[in-house]
Amino acid sequence: MTILNDPVNAKLGDRAQLSYIASQAADARLNVELETEGMTLNIGPQHPATHGTLRIIARLDGEQVLWAEPSCGYMHRGYEKLTEVRSFPQVTSLINRIDWLGSFANEVPFILAAENLMGVEAPPRAQWIRTILFELSRIANVSLFLGDLGVQLGAITPVFIAFRDREYVLNLIESATGGRFHPNFDRIGGLKDDLPAGWVDETKVVMKKLRNFCDEIEALLFGNEIFQSRTRGIGVIPRDVAMQYGLSGANLRASGVDWDLRRDQDSPMAWNKVDFKVWTHPDGDSFARCWVRLQETREATKIVDQLLDGIPAGPVMAKVPKIIKVPEGEAWVSTENPLGEMGYYVVSRGDSGPFRVKIRSASFNNISITPWLLRGVYVPDIITILASLYFILGDIDR
């Protein structure tokens, strides 16, 4: 039984065996101690709490979880492979659909990687508008999380408020790009179009509305005592564990790690031109994760406000050949997406399309902590923890 001594370096098949052994041991323990039969509960693939097709296999003793394991891949669409038979400009319409709630943010790292390989840099105006749209998609994404959080915990009203106010942001994205959910707007060397007339003023009004929305949600949900008793101290991820599991985004910052790619990374995007605060929380529990996201939504509206004031003039598209051929090479670009770090490792062989693309999506790494996190919690807490980890199924399965 060498795999038991070194579970981290065990091979994949061995790991499956290991988890089987663990489950058997748990069963045996259960039967000896309480002389009761445990129950294996399949949460998902079709379940209201998984917003998609994530399956959590949980071994229960009454309402307590003995062990739980996520099983993903029910919505695998093979985007990494599909990119190999697409040309570079075509890929953006695919990767829009990875994290479907913040879809513009998916396009940016890929386009930046392609630009890196080609040695093209988008003009400043394009970079600023990219950053604005990036932050808008962050707001659209996280505002839905804030509403959905209530539903997961049994409060049905916040989700309607969230949908109402998210609609303003989606309308903005639509009026600028033509697509509400899947903008497909980012191009190698810049953007498809310039902003429509009056967009800047409208956006400022909406940002004010969104800040009101944040206040409303904070009063409605975060101040609620039942909400606090359901989330505080539930699903605590210590700092070290969070880093070991490769968590990123708000999940990592809620564990007290001050790490934000927008600030810590040299990027052509316009984040270094604005002044914003990276929020962290020392607790690492579900409440901290939700709270950090709320603060990030507020911060995003401020970033957008600052960027709107200083959009430089000029073209939105650099000089790029009509038929794009990317020179041979490899590039890795990652950005701080709404769900966490999202990166693309693009390998080009000099063709019009990528030779190989590896997508590092945040949710896949974020849910990898669930077996560690769900051990010993109660069934309702599974839902709290999953909701607070905040994953998008498309982002897990790609």
């Binding site: 509960l41 915990l153 049994g154 409060a155 049905i156 039942i226 909400f227």
Partner: protein
């Protein structure tokens, strides 16, 4: 012998009339009004319009929904314990029907004038636990089982504070007859002032709050809706039900909310009565006959107020966890209601 339109009606006829009356005159309007009112209220709280298509302002929505549910296929899982599975919704609805039998609607408008009405009401209200447990166990579904067991634990835990909260009312009124409790409230006085009678919501405020919290839990409405918990247990004990059986659970939930609100308004808000001092009435015999017509309307009005309260809390609060719920019941509600009984008893003897 009672006479209806100058025709002498035998006893079995009276019983039949009362049952039909209970069905047609009370439960159906109660369910319909509560349902439509609730949907509209929920919609306005959530900044949307709610049902608008069925009838004027969606007032016929319930009939549309009933029509929809009746058309659905009646699915019974293969592994289900079929007989129990089919019985469960009826048992749940039965407790609602039995509950309405003791609610008085006017000086002479009542279905049964029961000496131990309060006792009876509290007893039959817990029959619904059996139905829920039957539904949860017989569905052969793990979510249903979890939901059913949660419901059983919760409903038993909240039965006790409910009973204890009512004890205060019984001590103050000195009777368990609901009709007499209504009389005691409307003919009574607070510190010699009979301007509003003596509705027990004022003098038994603690009992009222405990009772309403317990009702919230008995009805499995948020924040106590873990047996259904749609984000955890899909739909709890109702998961495997479809079509007509689901409809019974679904409408039963609203009808029970209405009936519990009626019981609460009888116990705490003066029931069908208005303060007797307004019209110079002193006891049951001196109450004018038109109260038999106005009484049901007054009960409905008070019921709506309480249903509004129940639903307001339902739509604005997240859900507890079961262990938190049990802790709340045993460590907060029961001591509070026991203290309430003691204080009530002492004051009853003192005054």
């Amino acid at each position: 012998m009672m006479s209806v339109l100058a025709i002498e009606v035998p006893y079995w006829g009276q019983s039949l009339l009362r049952v039909l009356g209970g069905l047609v005159a009370v439960l159906l309007p109660a369910g319909t009004i509560v349902y439509v009112f609730l949907f509209k209220m929920m919609s306005f709280m959530q900044s949307r319009l709610g049902p608008m298509e069925a009838g004027p302002y969606g007032s016929m929505q319930l009939f549309a929904e009933v029509g929809k549910w009746l058309q659905k296929e009646d699915i019974q899982p293969d592994n289900a314990d079929k007989r129990i599975f089919r019985m469960a919704p009826i048992v749940v609805l039965m407790s609602t029907f039995l509950l309405v039998a003791v609610v008085p609607f006017g000086p002479d408008a009542w279905f049964t004038d029961f000496e131990t009405g309060v006792f009876y009401a509290l007893a039959v209200s817990s029959i619904s636990v059996l139905g829920i447990l039957m539904a949860g166990w017989s569905s052969a579904n793990k979510y249903s089982l979890l939901g059913g067991l949660r419901a059983a634990g919760q409903l038993i835990a909240y039965e006790l504070p409910m009973v204890l909260a009512v004890v205060g009312v019984v001590i103050q009124a000195g009777t368990m007859n609901l009709q007499q409790i209504v009389l005691a409230q409307n003919a009574g006085s607070i510190f010699g002032s009979d301007i509003v009678g003596n509705p027990y919501v004022l003098t038994q405020f603690v009992g009222f709050v405990v009772f309403m919290i317990a009702v919230q839990a008995e009805l499995t409405q948020a924040p106590f809706d873990m047996p259904i918990a749609e984000s955890e247990l899909v739909s709890g004990y109702m998961t495997e039900y479809s079509g007509f059986r689901f409809l019974i659970f679904f409408i039963g939930e609203f009808a029970t909310a209405g009936v519990f609100a009626m019981i609460a308004s009888t116990l705490f808000l003066g029931g069908w009565g208005i303060p007797f001092s307004w019209f110079g009435w002193t006891d049951m015999d001196s109450v004018a006959n038109w109260m038999n017509v106005a009484g049901p309307l007054i009960v409905f009005t008070k019921m709506m107020v309480l249903v509004f309260l129940i639903m307001w809390i339902r739509f604005s609060s997240p859900r507890f966890r079961e262990d938190q719920l049990q802790r709340f019941a045993w460590k907060v509600l029961i001591p509070v209601s026991l203290a309430n009984i003691m204080v009530t008893a002492v004051l009853k003897v003192a005054f």
